[in-house]
């Protein structure tokens, strides 16, 4: 109990130090939520440092608007790219989604989504390979890279 309180105190200090306004009422009343929320951000380090990867540029200008900077998506609307089989699994399927877009009901991490992702076939093979490599190695994901030849093969098949 005491440890918990100290942790919260530290957290509050840390939060105010970095300029966050915070919501003190909430923090006092729901300490467990605050601490567990913080734990999530801390464990997010399995990925390599991708901040200079060329795929980040593509991600930031094309995908970020919907899937968010941290890949967490928008509840009920745009699914997350964190630890999902769609991202870290079958590369061919992933390339196809990016080229052709996606619609209809899908389930991602137990949540049903029924929205529309636009096609991105206007991006080059290299841009798609870069952005997919970027998402497969960011946000805590750690899957193999995607090459531009793989993108080219899928594009030619369809």
């Amino acid at each position: 109990m005491r440890i918990n309180k100290i942790a919260i105190l530290l957290l509050a200090v840390a939060l105010s130090a970095c300029g966050g306004k915070g919501n003190s009422g909430q923090q006092q009343s729901e300490p467990t939520k605050q601490t567990s929320g913080n734990a999530v951000t801390e464990t997010k380090s399995a990925s390599a440092d991708m901040s200079n990867h060329p795929g980040k540029k593509v991600y930031d200008s094309v995908c970020l608007a919907c899937h968010m900077a941290d890949g967490s998506g928008v509840p009920g609307m745009h699914p997350p790219l964190i630890d999902t089989d769609w991202v870290t699994g079958d590369k061919e399927r992933l390339i196809k989604i990016t080229l052709e877009g996606l619609s209809g009901k899908i389930e991602v991490k137990g949540e049903v989504y029924n929205s529309l992702m636009p096609p991105h076939s206007h991006l080059s093979d290299k841009q798609i390979a870069d952005v997919l490599t970027y998402i497969r190695k960011s946000f805590g994901n750690n899957a193999s890279e995607v090459t531009k030849e793989e993108v080219q093969n899928v594009r030619n098949d369809s």
Binding site: G20, K21, G22, N23, G25, Q26, Q28, S29, E30, K33, G37, D60, S61, V62, L64, A65, C66, M68, A69, D70, S72, G73, V74, P75, G76, M77, H78, P80, G101, S103, G104, V112, N114, S115, L116, P118, P119, H122
Partner: protein, 424 residues
């Protein structure tokens, strides 16, 4: 086990109460932390229920029973039905009914009307029962299959008409959906069947909205927040403005401008109104309805937008107004009387800038028009600040209702938390 508990409770109730079960105001105790909300002085709040499901809109019956429409359904659970039997404001019975999921929910003429995404149906209310009956009827049908802007809120004018928003399944009517460089279709064919508000008869069954109804207003991209204002006898709506100006026109709009623009517009919707989507958007910094870049706009020229109907008020971009309510209760101070509460769901399209607008605002009214500026009324839903990704917000206000005693109810869409805001 649960069932048995309900049974015992219900039996007790039936035995003990011959009288009204409308909870008395004086037994309400606000939560110490107001359920995490920050409110103006004199107001307080209590949590009615923590977690009823993915809530959308909310209705409160004359006896205090509460109905929440839900977006996800695992088997006949599209409507959460809540009852407080002890009068302390906390729901102690929560049951589920309804095989549809969606947004619109309205008690009207002894029915619970429900705006499923593909149709409007109604369930019969049953005297003395919390849950509506199962035998629903189809009122309006034929809505387009939509993967975006599919919510169907509906309103009644008290003269036998029902108004349903048919949101446009599109951002800006581009030839290719949300694709950079794709031009806007001109004329936009979507406006023939969506992007407006349609009027149908509230009692006729099985109406096709295009064949049996009429288009009441057009040029509305999507409006989840709609309300018939009984005081002035007019329909109002708050629009979700278009997205992604920077993504599609990076040479014209910075990310900051794209986060702020266009305005979310508050409309007085009279018959035949045209608010200009997709050709126009409202720039609240210039106070001007300008031509959209997909149609040759340069951020300032108006052209055909000069003739489109302007909003009665404009809010910063992308905050996603999801419900509107005109306050007619007797509990809140005089300034709130007949004014508008708007629940903003909070943005996603302000990234990479921080997300905004996870709050309920108040707009004072005098007659048909606002009489002053808007102000934040209830805040603190997100539980964190800044909100960098929409998913960081713990709660997102989505629906509003007024209780028989004048309390204001708010429902969240993440977990279905329900607050009751009171004044004393």
């Amino acid at each position: 086990m649960k069932k048995l508990a309900y049974f015992v409770l219900l039996t007790l109730l039936a035995v003990s109460c011959g009288q009204e079960n409308a909870p008395e105001n004086h037994t309400l105790h606000p939560d110490n932390d107001n359920g995490g909300l920050t409110l103006p002085e004199g107001f307080s709040a209590l949590v009615v229920a923590d977690n009823v499901g993915r809530g959308r809109h909310i209705e409160v019956n004359e006896n205090g029973d509460i109905y929440v429409s839900l977006r996800q359904n695992d088997g006949n659970r599209g409507i959460a039905c809540l009852r407080d039997t002890s009068g302390n404001g906390k729901a102690d019975i929560i049951e589920y009914a309804g095989e549809h999921t969606g947004t619109g929910i309205k008690l009207h003429n002894g029915y619970l009307y429900f705006g499923a995404d593909s149709a409007v149906v109604r369930y019969p209310m049953q005297e003395g029962e919390l849950k509506p009956g199962n035998s629903w009827e189809l009122i309006a049908r034929g809505f387009p299959q939509e993967g975006q802007h599919e919510a169907k809120p509906m309103e009644f004018d008290g003269q036998g008409n029902m108004y349903v928003t048919i949101g446009a399944p599109s951002n800006a009517c581009m030839e290719q959906m949300r694709t950079k460089g794709s031009p806007g279709m001109d004329p936009c064919p979507i406006l023939d069947y969506a992007g407006g508000i349609w009027k149908v008869d509230e009692n006729s069954l099985n109406q096709h909205y295009l064949e049996d109804g009429e288009r009441y207003a057009t040029g509305i991209r999507h409006a989840v927040a709609t309300r018939w204002n009984n005081q002035v006898g007019e329909l109002y709506a708050v629009q979700h403005g278009r997205d992604q100006l920077h993504q599609f026109f990076p040479e014209m709009y910075t990310t900051e401008e794209s986060a702020e623009l266009p305005a979310e517009e508050f409309f007085l919707v009279t018959e035949g109104s045209d608010f200009g989507w997709p050709y126009c958007y409202y720039d609240h910094l210039q106070n001007s309805k300008v031509l959209a870049p997909e149609y040759g706009g340069d951020k300032t020229i108006q052209e055909r937008c000069e003739n489109k109907k302007p909003p009665i008020m404009a809010f910063p971009g992308h905050m996603a107004p999801n419900d509107l309510l005109f306050y007619t209760g007797g509990m809140f101070p005089e300034k709130y009387k007949n004014g508008a509460f708007i629940a903003f769901h909070g943005s996603w399209n302000r990234a990479p800038e921080p997300q905004e607008g996870f709050f309920v605002v108040f707009v004072p009214f005098d007659g048909e028009n606002p009489s002053g500026d808007w102000e934040v009324f209830a805040d603190g839903f997100a539980g964190t600040e800044p909100v960098n990704s929409t998913g960081d917000a713990e709660y997102r206000p989505c629906g509003l209702a007024q209780g028989p005693d004048g309390s204001l109810y708010v429902v969240d869409s993440n977990k279905g938390k329900v607050w009751r805001i009171i004044h004393s």
